[in-house]
Assembly symmetry: C2
Homo-oligomer: 151 residues x 2
């Protein structure tokens, strides 16, 4: 697992669901599709709103239930910013690194090659099978720094 460079094309939702003897419902394929085509910063409510456009009768609890299921099946990942609620994104090919402004709450992704051996080294040292890497930097963006001064 540590050695595999990058996962091949993500398994189809149908495959994963089938292989765990889950039923393939319209709601599940829709939700997975939305998550995969999103920018990765979607929360439960946002996903629900999008889903309703395509499937008016879908229920929020269905969204939550399936988010949990997808997470358990490894189809998506849950992200925790400095905010209130969780965000979800399709399991990605690379780890994600976020930069979050404490002033205005905007979240950006940045890229920094810090983990060539982080995973391997730490995994080995602590005997962990590391599946997720989350790097969050928090601070103030330039706009918000201006605002601070103005006060």
């Amino acid at each position: 697992m540590v050695g595999s460079a990058r996962p091949t094309k993500p398994a189809s939702a149908r495959q994963v669901l089938n292989s765990s003897s889950r039923r393939v419902t319209a709601q599940r394929t829709l939700l997975l599709d939305l998550i995969r085509h999103s920018d990765g910063h979607l929360d439960a409510e946002g996903l629900y709103r999008l889903a309703k456009e395509k499937h008016a009768r879908i229920n929020l609890s269905t969204v939550y239930r399936n988010l949990q299921l997808f997470k358990k099946l490894g189809l998506i990942e849950e992200r925790h910013f400095t905010e209130e609620h969780h965000h979800y994104e399709a399991k990605a090919t690379a780890e994600h690194q976020h930069l979050c402004c404490l002033g205005c709450g905007k979240v950006m992704e940045f890229d920094f090659h810090l983990t060539p051996n982080l995973k391997g080294k730490i995994g080995k040292e602590y005997d962990f099978d590391i599946t997720g890497v989350e790097v969050s930097l928090t601070g103030l963006c330039s706009d918000c720094r201006q605002d601070e001064k103005r006060k």
Copy 2:
């Protein structure tokens, strides 16, 4: 309420509170003290329970209100693991790096010198004043891997 004599060195807390013209109350010094002497993985409820041992009439909302205040004043940091609620720890001199097992939920700290220039580089590139660095690795510890196999 809580003694007027405080042998510890909350001087800086007192200073920070004073310098932002906040009042130094028994609740605040107690809470800050508890956070500082905790292992850093304390949540609001846990802090409340501890606080009640020393100050029976303290209220949960006071805990939440002050947690927010301390965060705003930069006295503590909020951490987000893969769990439900937030954890708090006294602002440290170095950034923290957590390793969290998705199986049993245990959280360990590890040390890896990855950020000598991460802060500087990213901060410069995005014009951010970076105040917090959070690195979370998630995965399965060896115990939980055993359990997985057994299923």
